[in-house]
Point group: C2
Chain length 354, copies 2
């Protein structure tokens, strides 16, 4: 099979793979060319595992009544139709892990990667050309999908070589939320009060760990969780990743803000929203002081709900759209795991494939 | 008529007006109680004009084939159904101008406002209880809708007394986008390159004026417009609100970024997106340098398109959700108009009702 694009100009961002609409980029395209052959500036990978984005997987699982067979068929259908695992409802994707099969000749000598290397993609599946032969297994609890297939990374694509000291499935779970731990230290400073909404989820745990390290002894990290008796919520306190755990439904803005005000009357300087359910924008806003910052890492965030929510209550807060990419984010995330043995043990227990 | 809520606890954010779903806040509620009577901490206003949010009005106008009669019926229907002018498609609202009829007894002595004062609401119509008797007139070109009706402002509601030296319709048009000019000076500094996408629109013009004043002679403001021959685009250059005008369709990311790179190879330090059409996130990202900031003021912004767009091309940018509220934003916006006579003249020509 040859790439349909080898003879034409190959765009570093993959614009040459867009089929429709014409002029779109791979992420906003409805359909892209998933021919599994590397053009001159592309990397062809054999794909073993898809780590579907949490908001996307939740939506797919609900539609399929949490039936693994139907989830697999749903994913195959999306990829057949769009040439990528780009959930049309949530707009989000995920990432893959696999092995490099071929590196295009224009790229071969310019990057530190060889055929045979095991890597994880750090660009969203929502723009990654993907060709699936089969779905082999699905872990409904974690959103991991084992497949047989091939994917293309563009010249601008970001990837991480999988580390040797961390279990591969654990590393994948960590890299999936690598944006969060890399952003948190930029946003908070010593002595601040930081609220993490959805603290017991993957990105929440990492955000708490980074925030606690950054605000120090004079600062305070509050973790809001749905169920304080669940293992990850207990880990938060046991491992010292937070100062307080608060239990509430993040969608119930009045209840949430009442509980936070009760223990932190000045409200949060920084709120990090990591919840993968819609409707938590107002809770985030109500818990954040005037002049404070809210970092929305959740893919379920509604832009208008956030914008109008803050205006509606006249709260002068800076609201930031979570960017899955930050310089060195893969290394920062993996190092956070190494620095927190209890977190590492929890991830091993949850994500290590036996 | 009496407020259904006078005897119960009245929440400063208006939670007592929510009808469904239970536990929601007025903005995220599907339906709120629009009974036109002031509870103890509410302000009842007679409403003359609705200034429907630009993204919302565009959507309504398109559905109604730009027919004023059908647009009016559409608005009446939404308000009947939801108790507020909250566009279910765009999620956005707008603002109103009117006269204070009554101030609840718990609020009367605590605020600088009296019955009879003419004010503009500075909270979104998407959370404002609104009771309409009739739509009297619609200006399809500007999204202004003259009505007979009444509205409620909550204790937390923000309003501005209309200035005496500026025409009321002009002031209303300015206040509608007051968030933009107040935010821009916080985000840019002398010597920077600022790109304003949608520079010829209302919020775009104000953003350019503020950005140019802030970046100074060593900085550069580039205005991206859809049609460089249109009057507001020509005003940008004539009034010195920008250094360069670039013409492009903001949805065509590759075309836009090519044109910006051609005149500013280092890309923009700050990009302000003021376009009221969907699909311009990637253009904004491609035009902004690593480490730069993007301020999405447009209500058409998709959270996931922005988040995944930046990740997809590996661009380490800070993306901010436009907050319609910032401290003193009404005064800052009106002062920007006074400081720029050419801008004031343009607004008079466009929005002053003869």
């Amino acid at each position: 099979m040859t790439a349909p694009t080898t003879k034409t100009h190959c765009h570093p961002l993959g614009a040459h793979r867009v089929l429709e609409p014409v002029g779109a980029m791979p992420q906003d395209a409805w359909r892209i060319d998933n021919t599994p052959a590397a053009a001159q500036n592309e990397i062809l990978c054999e794909v073993d595992v898809l780590n579907v984005d949490s908001a996307s997987f939740r939506q797919i699982a609900e539609v399929c009544h949490f039936d693994a067979g139907r989830i697999g068929e749903h994913i195959l259908q999306t990829v057949r139709e769009r040439g990528k695992q780009h959930n049309p409802v949530t707009g989000s994707g995920g990432m893959f892990v696999g092995r490099v099969l071929e590196i295009g000749e224009a790229l071969r000598d310019r990057i530190d990667l060889r055929a045979g290397d095991r890597i994880a993609s750090l660009v969203s599946l929502s723009l990654t050309p993907l060709h699936l032969e089969a779905v082999r297994e699905i872990d409904v609890a974690t959103g991991r999908v084992w497949v047989r297939g091939m994917a293309i990374l563009f010249e601008s694509g970001i990837w991480a070589r999988l580390p040797e000291d961390i279990d591969e499935n654990v590393a994948l779970a960590v890299l999936d939320v690598a944006g969060a731990p890399a952003q948190v230290p930029r946003l908070c400073s010593p002595g601040q009060t930081v609220l993490v909404i959805g603290a017991a989820g993957k990105s929440g745990l990492f955000s708490c760990a980074q925030a606690k390290a950054r605000v120090g002894a004079t600062g305070r990290v509050i973790g809001l969780v749905h169920d304080a008796s669940a293992p990850p919520a207990q880990l938060l306190e046991r491992a010292g990743l937070v100062d307080d755990v608060v239990e509430a439904d993040a969608r119930r803005a009045l209840d949430v803000s009442g509980k936070i005000e009760a223990i932190a009357p000045q409200l949060a300087d920084l709120t990090i929203n990591c919840v993968n359910v819609p409707g938590t924008e107002l809770s985030s806003i109500l818990c954040t002081r005037d002049g404070g910052t809210i970092y929305f890492f959740s893919m379920s965030t509604s832009f208008t709900a956030a914008a109008l929510g803050a205006e509606g209550i006249g709260r002068d807060v800076t609201m930031i759209i979570g960017n899955g990419y930050a310089k060195d984010h893969a290394n920062i995330a993996l190092q956070t795991l190494r620095d927190h043995p209890a977190l590492h043990a929890y991830f091993n227990a949850k994500y290590k494939k036996l």
